[in-house]
């Protein structure tokens, strides 16, 4: 409980969810999903399951770190925190009285931020603006009900109430007793449609704390940050989702509002409900709460993919580790399914090639893991191999051995047993993921939001089944080359500040 889901997902992203698609068997997903599209363009996916009188729900917006512009990194995540601060009706005792103070806070915070961003800030002015901001915030607090979103939701039985921001999307989710479907839809619709940016400047400090814990002092967070900086020398993938510390310190309410109004529009949103729901009632409530959201215009995405690569070493007061990554295409390119096969073949379970050789047979690595959609999926991305050596073995030795194994799949076809195992694992993985309402709701929303079609989830096993041994060899030859590689090596030592 020391860390919540948000922190984890910032750095790990969607690869795991993508690796868990869905097969028929007793549970035919394609027949189970009811699609419902509102007049404003928002898409909903509903699945009835009668296990217990509960449901899980998610609202996902197709906006994430990838959509940020230079100088404003961390904005998507900052907005996500703001959504939990309530609306004009939630979190306030008297919004008519609170609003003018919020406006003053916005103005003062803007001036303070602008002063703080100067090369040589006027210390006196900073101090007086800080003092003014403090007074205004105390005044506003008199009209506010702190954390009322949380209060209302958890008092009514919400579990899994949280949100995350990835490179691709932002999602808000909870599981609740089914009698509270009305409340869930009401609260989440206000969070995404009617934010009032309460406590913005205090929350900015919270996020800077989050960043210290997740990047500065976390050897793996630091390594992930270096990986994206090196593999993508600028462009939409260059920064981690949480943003650079200096950018976050410069964010203002105006930035957050502009961001919200541009991206949080109905045509850019997907909802999913899975559980003991009544479909007709759910549709009526969805209409009531999400119908009024403006359709909006989804403008052309301004994404820029700029690749880089090469090797970088860094020192950290931690045990060594190494990540080896290769640029690759994303969906709808069918090579994605070949990479899914390679992922399971190399890294999934004690018989997979890398785990068997490095962890079990030679005992040179403590752990090997793969991810084939890092750091996001809306743009071409990376397949990565993350390894931690056992003492006294070195990161160089591990990368050398992984490269040897990659050479092997370029030269020799994989065995029938291996191909069969991979297909069984992909299909079973999907079945296992269906056990939980929230997992299913998230997977449906992700596929609809990011790839534009939830059905891809249902068809995933058959698409992976189409991958041949020749596909694996051809893909390995095309992508696993030195000129396409990025390597980040962590060695023990003191950080350079």
């Amino acid at each position: 409980m020391k860390r919540d889901l948000k922190t984890v997902l910032h750095y790990i992203c969607l690869a795991l969810i993508l690796a868990l698609p869905l097969t028929a068997g007793a549970f035919d997903l394609e027949k189970k999903v009811v699609e419902y599209k509102l007049a404003n363009g928002m898409r909903w996916l509903l699945v009835v399951r009668r296990n217990a009188p509960v449901f899980s729900g998610v609202v996902m917006i197709r906006v994430g770190g990838t959509d940020e512009t230079p100088g404003k990194t961390g904005l998507a995540h900052m907005f996500e925190h703001m959504a939990f601060k309530g609306s004009s009706r939630l979190g306030t005792k008297d919004f008519a009285k609170e609003k003018p103070i919020l406006d003053e806070i916005e103005k003062t915070g803007f001036e303070l931020t602008a002063e703080g961003q100067k090369a040589v800030p006027d210390k006196k002015r900073v101090a007086s603006l800080e003092e003014r901001l403090k007074i205004l915030q105390e005044e506003a607090a008199g009209y506010q009900i702190k954390n009322q979103v949380w209060e209302v939701m958890v008092a009514n039985g919400a579990s899994d109430l949280n949100a995350y921001t990835s490179k691709d999307a932002t999602a808000y989710h909870a599981s609740m007793p089914v009698e509270r479907l009305d409340l869930f839809l009401d609260v989440i619709s206000q969070m995404v449609n009617d934010p009032v940016y309460r406590e913005f400047y205090t929350e900015r400090s919270v996020i800077l704390e989050e960043r210290r814990g997740g990047v500065d002092n976390d050897p793996d967070g630091k390594m992930s940050e270096l990986l994206v900086e090196t593999a993508f020398q600028n462009g939409s993938y260059h920064s981690p989702v949480i943003g650079s510390a200096s950018d976050v310190a410069g964010l203002t309410i105006a930035d957050a509002r502009e961001f919200h109004d541009r991206y949080y529009v109905a045509s850019n949103m997907v909802g999913a409900l899975v559980g003991d729901i009544d479909i007709e009632k759910a549709k009526r409530l969805i209409d009531k709460y999400f119908g009024p959201i403006p359709a909006g215009i989804v403008t052309k995405e301004r994404l820029v993919l700029n690749s880089g690569g090469g090797t970088k070493n860094f020192a950290f007061d931690a045990e060594p580790a190494v990540v080896l990554a290769y640029h690759k295409p994303t969906l709808p390119d069918h090579t994605e399914f070949v990479f899914d096969v390679i992922d399971v073949l190399m890294c999934d379970g004690p018989t997979s090639r890398l785990e068997k050789r490095l962890v079990y047979d030679e005992k040179v690595a403590r752990d090997v893991s793969c991810s084939n959609s890092y750091p996001g999926s809306r743009l071409n991305n990376l397949m990565l191999f993350w390894m931690e050596p056992n003492r006294p073995h070195t990161p160089e030795k591990l990368t050398f051995e992984v490269e040897e194994e990659l050479e092997r799949i370029k030269r020799e076809p994989i065995s029938d047993e291996e191909l069969g195992r991979v297909q069984t694992k992909v299909a079973a993985g999907i079945l296992y993921s269906l056990e939980k309402n929230l997992g299913l709701a998230m997977s449906l929303a992700e596929f609809e939001t990011i790839f534009g079609d939830w059905r891809l989830l249902a068809r995933y096993p058959s698409l992976v089944e189409g991958v041949t041994k020749e596909d694996v060899m051809r893909t390995a030859n095309e992508y696993f080359s030195d000129k396409n590689a990025t390597k980040i090596i962590r060695l023990r030592g003191q950080k350079k500040k």
Partner: protein, 444 residues
């Protein structure tokens, strides 16, 4: 409990929700769990669920590192690893791995302080074969010498790497500080004690504890109970049983002496855990203490610590309290991380909150009602997954609760009043006896 929600409706002026009782109370029929004891002495809890073609099973065993001899630290941990990776009498470790991987079975085993658990998730069509291997690992482990070596490396590496994560270090050090470095509840193996472990030690530890009458099985999924029980009998019928003499575990001495441990590191954040001993598991005040803990800082946003330290002051991303119970005394603790410059201030703020709660003058009915509603209304999630239901039942039995403990718990929480919370806060919080562990730089 009715009041708070009505108040919320007024303030929010928008919620079309009723102010009824909490949801688990009406209309929901608990699924019927099949329970009994096999001829060999193993207890079971089974729940058929045919929605998906999957079976999940777990076996818990009363054993653990608290029973390790002082010169064999790491023994339980190592045996736990071997019970998944070390092969069986009839199969090499590689054959086991291949069998599980080829059927996409997910199997694991581990041994903690006082409980061992082996678990498997498998497609129901492969369940029979998977169970044969599963029980082979549990009752006839090969303890393959290469895998023993690998297990040792794994533990030693994990011990080293734990130091890389300051949030984990502070939790470990806080435990050692309060219980004592060599207490069975806090002590840690070292590379030396792990390196010295012998296969004979593992055999002896396994033989002593892994007998059917010391185990509880829980399973849910696509099966019929009678056929399932026959399958289990087939693979466990011949396992011999005996009475176990559990070693004496040194009792925790109940004392509240403030202690401090600072681990200096040049970090941008300081990691803090502070608190003291909690209560034993069957203390009847635990329900009131749970409500008290929710008011103080159990991990929902609407708590005193979260509201003050995170929402109002922006001083931390994570701040949470936990009033714990255990077989012996558990731990009461507050965890928080903050930038180095504000560490001193945050420690003082946490201390003030504990003093205030212990003084107890101002616990309100609103706080109480919110904490109770939160606790009661999420109870339904104990039932949203079949395996969760049986696994919980097995644990109730393991810890000495009645089978219907869920109802007991609900009734006890419903009964808690403001005066109860004030009384337990006064009795069980010791602001003068707070021990504190710190990792990071301490700018005084």
């Amino acid at each position: 409990m009715k009041r708070i929600l009505c108040v919320i409706i007024l303030f929010g002026a928008l919620f079309a929700v009723s102010c009824g009782p909490f949801f688990g109370a009406n209309g929901f029929k608990e699924p019927k769990v099949v329970t009994g004891v096999l001829p060999n002495g193993m207890r079971y809890y089974l729940l058929p669920d045919h929605e998906l073609p999957i079976v999940r099973m777990s076996v818990i065993t009363r054993t653990g590192s608290i029973y390790e001899p002082a010169d064999r630290l790491g023994l339980a941990n190592l045996l736990g690893i071997l019970l998944r990776t070390g092969g069986t009498k009839d199969m090499s470790p590689e054959e086991v791995d291949r069998t599980f991987d080829n059927m996409a079975a997910e199997a694991g085993a581990s041994i903690g302080l006082e409980m061992g658990e082996s678990a498997i998730k498998v497609l129901s069509k492969d369940a029979d074969r998977a169970f044969e291997v599963f029980f082979g690992l549990l009752f006839s482990p090969r303890l393959d010498s290469r895998r023993v070596e690998l297990g040792k490396i794994k533990i030693i590496e994990a011990l080293k790497r734990e130091n890389d994560y300051p949030d984990q270090v502070v939790v470990r050090e806080f435990k050692k500080l309060v219980y004592g470095d060599m207490s069975p509840w806090a002590r840690r193996p070292t590379p030396e004690t792990v390196g010295a472990l012998k296969i004979e030690d593992l055999k002896e530890f396994h033989k002593k504890y892994f007998v059917p009458s010391n185990m509880i099985l829980a399973a849910a999924g696509n099966f019929e109970p009678s056929a399932f029980i026959e399958t289990i009998k087939k693979y466990t019928g011949n396992v011999p049983d005996h009475r176990i003499e559990f070693p004496n575990v040194a009792p925790v001495e109940l004392e509240f002496r403030p202690k401090e441990r600072v681990i200096e590191r040049p970090l941008t954040q300081t990691y803090i855990e502070m608190g003291h001993l909690g209560i034993k598991r069957h203390n009847p005040d635990k329900y009131a203490l749970e409500i008290m803990d929710t008011i103080l800082g159990a991990p929902v946003f609407k708590s005193r610590l979260m509201e003050d330290i995170r929402s109002n002051r922006g001083l931390a991303y994570t701040v949470a309290s936990d009033f714990g119970w255990g077989t012996d005394y558990g731990l009461f603790s507050v965890y928080v991380d903050t930038k180095a410059q504000t560490a001193g201030q945050v420690v003082e703020l946490v201390r003030e909150h504990i003093v205030r709660l212990q003084g107890a003058g101002d616990i309100t009915k609103t706080e109480l009602d919110f904490a109770k509603r939160t606790t009661l209304n999420r109870l339904i999630f104990e039932f949203d997954n079949s395996f969760k239901i049986v696994s919980q039942r097995a644990r109730y039995h393991f810890y000495g609760y009645p089978d219907d403990y869920w109802h007991v718990y609900r009734r006890e929480i419903e009964k808690v009043g403001v005066e109860d919370v004030k009384r337990v806060a006064k009795k069980y919080l010791h602001p003068d006896g707070l021990s504190i562990a710190i990792v990071g730089s301490v700018a005084k």
